[in-house]
């Protein structure tokens, strides 16, 4: 039985169905990638965020168009939530020239700098300082944008976490550090890897706010991040928002998940963020079963279309190899 959410009163039906659709897009995108990985049609490695859709969608839902994000190795959801075209994302995973990175970046480096997505990052903790720098630009040029820096529980143990948060705090930079605490840094359980329960508690050492939200409740995420973003935009400096969530799949493709139990996984699956949103919308009479099914089908079709788009897109040639090394 899923727990129902506290529906924020200011959101209109269109906003709410958009949230639901985006979450479905992420879910289907990840499932499709999983499938094609298994079929050997996508190579390399990839990190899926199935189960974490609410933290991505909820965080970014409160941003303005001009705001920016930095993402992580588990970043497909952030990209979709920031408005990326799924065609170009899927094409990137297929290594095609129509992909966001012309097939040169792959899963871990999808970026859309013009749209404010400063990029996923293959280095754990690699985004802290970059987000800080982007926030510095906003402050120095008085551009008014806020930067959301996504990171995981594991990254909070990197040295760059401390250095960047310290720097961002002393300069009062407009950056919000969003921790998606999915309980495991690869195989390392968060509770074994740090001596505190909440990563948000670390905020105290930088003299900034730290707030824990239910990462599987899209509205709770929105509320927490919205507060932090307002603060940042008002020149009051950075915050940490920690969204407690869970990744349903393994860390990456080669993960047998021996470090956790079936029961634990089932427990979290019961808190499926998509089902929870759908159910509350139906219960509140904002959505019919049929409408929900339509949204789901539309999202699924977009992802399936993206596969077709990718398959028909050209492969890069050797001539492209040495392009774009220098500006």
């Amino acid at each position: 039985m899923t727990s129902l959410l506290n529906l924020p009163s200011h959101l209109k039906k269109d906003d709410l169905t958009a949230l639901l659709k985006q979450m479905w897009q992420i879910r289907f995108f990840e499932e499709k990638v999983d499938e094609f990985f298994a079929k050997g049609m996508i190579h390399g490695t990839t990190h899926l965020a199935v189960g974490q859709e609410a933290s991505a969608v909820g965080s970014i839902a409160v941003l303005e168009e001009r705001d920016k994000i930095t993402s992580t190795h588990r970043g497909h959801g952030h990209c979709i939530a920031k408005g990326a075209e799924v065609n170009r994302m899927m094409a990137e995973l297929f290594g095609r020239t129509t992909g966001y990175c012309k097939g040169k970046g792959g899963s871990m480096h999808i970026a859309d700098v013009d749209k404010g997505n400063l990029g996923a990052n293959g280095i754990v903790g690699g985004g802290f300082a970059i987000a800080t720098g982007a926030a510095l630009t906003s402050q120095m040029k008085n551009e008014g944008y806020v930067v959301l820096c996504f990171f995981g529980d594991g990254a909070s143990n990197e040295g760059s976490f401390h250095e960047a948060l310290n720097l961002a705090s002393i300069w009062k930079l407009p950056v919000v550090f969003i921790c998606e605490n999915n309980q495991y840094g690869m195989s390392g359980p968060a509770k074994e890897m740090m001596n505190i329960e909440d990563i948000a508690a670390r905020a105290e050492s930088y003299g900034i706010p730290g707030k824990v939200v239910d990462g599987n409740d899209v509205f709770d995420v929105m509320n927490g991040v919205s507060e932090a973003v307002d603060r940042a935009r008002n020149g009051q400096g950075p915050s940490i928002v920690e969204a407690k969530t869970y990744r349903w799949k393994g860390h990456s493709k080669s993960d047998a998940k021996k470090y956790r139990t079936r029961e634990e996984e089932q427990e979290w699956r019961a808190k499926d963020p998509i089902a929870r949103l759908r159910d509350v919308l139906i219960q509140e009479g904002l959505l019919t079963d049929e409408e929900a099914a339509e949204i789901k089908a539309a999202a699924k079709k977009e992802i399936e279309d993206s596969v077709e788009f990718s398959k028909q897109s050209p492969m890069p040639t050797i001539d492209d190899l040495m392009e774009d090394i220098y500006a």
Binding site: D112, G126, G133, A134, T137, S160, E163, I325
Partner: protein, 327 residues
């Protein structure tokens, strides 16, 4: 024309550039009222204020990444790293982020930043503050690497580096700081990738970098007394490397001595020697290529030991004679 020291030339290039380009700012440790570890930014905070002369915490990982993030979003940061040895801490941001972002993102985004840092031995600062690690950076595609030896070159090359749309590692040799040369008052640019023939000669080509340019010129004067005519080439930038000038010189002289302070093993001299061996100049070589570099030892504290760890004028004279088959 008036004379400036190398240190003054670096400062003048930054000041003049900052007066005309609002996007340029400096960040680094103790660069404010202290004026930087070597006094390069002395007086600049008074002119430009703490917003643009940003004194940072001792956080090389954060400030390097912040520079990357700021550059990616429209600023042109100059990062001063107190000692080039600390590159190890900034390395992740330079190598895994700055150098690769444009390529990973399929040609989108650019990282116009300069990392300025004093390098080399001769100050008694011992093993962790005296290294010459430029070959590491030259190895990484996506970075440009500059190593000026004179005040004139320092000013012109720094201007070019700031104007670059790519990350540039700008090595300033500590012992060069006090050397003087004629420096034009106006701002000028020396294109990256243009070697300079510091002295023309016909018998042997010496390719030398940084402080070794000065030592090679001294050696050339010594050798001239014995009727040996030495050509001294300063590549000035390792990436991009002006191979043409070096190849043409070796075709003329048939002999090559490469000198750098960095440890010979794995040093950039190996690259220069290989360029010649692979080029049309090979068929003009009339003696084995001679490389002079630092001994494979951490730089010691004792001044006599410190001196003997790196090539001296006598070593250069002997190497030239060896290639000339003077026994």
């Amino acid at each position: 024309m008036r004379e400036l020291t190398y240190l003054e030339a670096v400062r003048e290039a930054m000041s003049q550039e900052m007066r005309q380009n609002e996007d340029v700012f400096i960040l680094g440790e103790d660069i404010g009222v202290y004026g930087g570890a070597f006094g390069v930014t002395r007086g600049m905070i008074e002119e430009f204020g703490p917003e643009r002369i940003r004194n940072t915490p001792i956080s090389e990982a954060a400030i390097s990444g912040t520079a990357v993030g700021a550059a990616l979003t429209g600023m042109r940061p100059i990062l001063e790293l107190q000692f080039s040895d600390f590159m190890t801490i900034a390395m992740d941001n330079m190598v895994n982020q700055a150098a690769k972002i444009r390529y990973m993102y399929g040609g989108k985004g650019k990282v116009p930043m300069v990392l300025r840092t004093p390098a080399g031995s001769g100050t008694g600062a011992a093993a962790q503050h005296s290294q010459s690690l430029e070959a590491w950076m030259a190895h990484v595609p996506g970075l440009k690497v500059v190593q000026p030896s004179t005040a004139y070159d320092a000013k012109g090359l720094l201007k070019a580096a700031i104007d670059e749309d790519n990350p540039v590692i700008f090595y300033e040799h500590k012992l060069c700081y006090k050397t003087k040369s004629d420096v034009p008052e106006e701002l000028y640019s020396i294109p990256l990738g243009q070697a300079d023939i510091k002295r023309e000669g016909s018998d042997v080509t010496i390719v030398a970098t940084a402080i070794m340019v000065h030592k090679s010129l001294e050696a050339a004067v010594e050798l001239e007394k014995e009727g040996i005519s030495v050509e001294v080439i300063d590549p000035r930038t390792l990436v991009p490397l002006d191979t043409d000038t070096i190849i043409e010189s070796v075709k003329k002289t048939s002999r090559l001595v490469v000198v750098h302070e960095a440890v010979k093993r794995g040093g950039f001299g190996g690259e220069i020697a290989s360029v010649i061996a692979e080029s049309e100049a090979f068929d003009y070589l009339d003696a084995p290529i001679k490389r002079l570099g630092g001994k494979a030892v951490p730089i010691p504290y004792n001044p006599e030991l410190e001196k003997s760890a790196i090539p001296g004028v006598d070593d250069i004279v002997a190497a030239v004679k060896e290639t000339l088959n003077h026994r």
